[in-house]
Amino acid sequence: MTGSFTASAWFAVAIIATIVGILALTYRPLGAYLAWVYTARKDLAVERGVYRVVGVNSAQEQSWGVYLRSVIAFSAIGILLVYLVQRTQNLLPYSLGLPPVEPSLAFNTAISFVTNTNWQSYSPELTMGYTVQLIGLAVQNFVSAAVGIAVAITLVRAIARSRTNIVGNFWVDLTRGVVRVLLPLAVVSAILLVAGGVIQNLSVFQDITTLTGGSQSLPGGPVASQEAIKLLGTNGGGFFNANSAHPFENPNGFTNLLQLVLMFLIPVALTRTFGIMVGDKRQGYAILAAMGIIAITSVSLLVVAETVGSGSAPTAAGAAMEGKETRYGPILSAIFGAFSTLTSTGAVNSMHDSFTALGGGLAMVNMMLGELAPGGVGSGLYGILIVAIIAVFVAGLMVGRTPEYLGKRIGRREMTFASLYILTTPALVLAGAALSFAIPAVRESVTGTSMANSGLHGFSEVLYAFTSAANNNGSAFAGLTASTPWFNTALGVAMLLGRLVPIVFVLALAGSFAAQDKVPVTAGTLPTHKPQFVGLLIGTIVIVSALTYFPVLALGPLAEGLL
């Protein structure tokens, strides 16, 4: 047993070391490339074409209010278009003979993909034809990720600027993110995935006879192209219901490793971009160090939770294998689960509902921390910068200094925005979970139809759903039957408000910073590039989340794990 545990531990270390090594190689070039993309003066020919079609003057920058209205308008149009293509899919080519998507499900799915959540209350291969998958969902996989990066870059750009009311041009940031970053990386990733065995075709279902003489209906589809952006854009929506546990989406160890790397690739590199754009690369290292310490701690704890489980079933199977692919086992499942919830991806190669109580709780905690280690593309960076502002403010209160971060004063206005940002997501999570049990008619549906388990674990399923939706993660304790009018609607509302309301406060903060002058560094300035600040930042992240979520965690996974 001890030998087996030691071998497991070394296997986990080897996997993590490989991923860290690959990310270390890409960190500088990709970070520098991203900084160039968002600061370059010249537009590419294809970008000029896009600007001409949509009537945008790329040389004219926007105030934060105009930038925000552009984000909101773009999201609104996206949601309405994805709703429309789902409701008319029977009229579209390559619909595979599928009927229109049911209205509440279309509402949920449209919001889900536009907000970069990719929560799926349905079996994709039995619900969505290829046209909906490609022009509805895959397009949103690209642009929702580009919106996240654009908002983060705007905050960083504003920190770097002084005495101005302009923060950038949303349409330029969006177009550059898609054309220069996501499309090229997705093409390369899709080719690597195809080389690894992921399918890419437009074949309809094929009936085949199995070796034992039975019949089976095998799906086809443009999977690799969707899979690449699913992970690269921290989207997470699977082409198939089983997501990355499906052998056509994630066939082997190579594709699994690639998928893990893709989830972290852009969020990690963005810390370098941040350092370059604010003119002090050490600031990027400090943010990366905080992200890295949280991520490695989380991955280690989840691996331990999934490998030391005892009891008759794990003993008989050799490990806690319920809900896990035999191809991946408990370690690769735990690592994937941690990566998926530390970012805003939500892809799964095992079923989180079957994790041990504490393992499932850790996946929830990853999301409750705010998904900022390293978080979603863009959303991870702006999330941790908001907590950095709070950390600086707290430190200022403790030692009696005027709080400032990167030469910007943190006053009442800035703290108001940062506090509202921090409060928005927990309010949605806790209100959503509470309403699911507080309204008698809803409770009857939730406990009678939706929850696969009663008691503590059933409560955890509902809590996980709202945590995932409001944090725009998209993974699920999939025992929960979420395709009901209540969950489709309530989770849709949580996803939309959980995405756009925090963006309001981030952009407001950007406007506030851009308008300020730079405060010169003095002996009284708190250094934000040293280990002391990294510790303070991690402490702030943990304390804010613990104070907010501990009571509700105690009602679900903690109670289940300790009883």
Binding site: E102, F107, L496
Partner: protein, 35 residues
Amino acid sequence: MLTLLEAFVLDLAFVLGIVALIALVALVGRAVEKL
């Protein structure tokens, strides 16, 4: 299976719901601008 009328009413409700949610976010933005 929904009738055409039921589907139309539900579509209308959900589209209006999307518009209302977006309007709510825009209102939050407007309120923050005035802070």
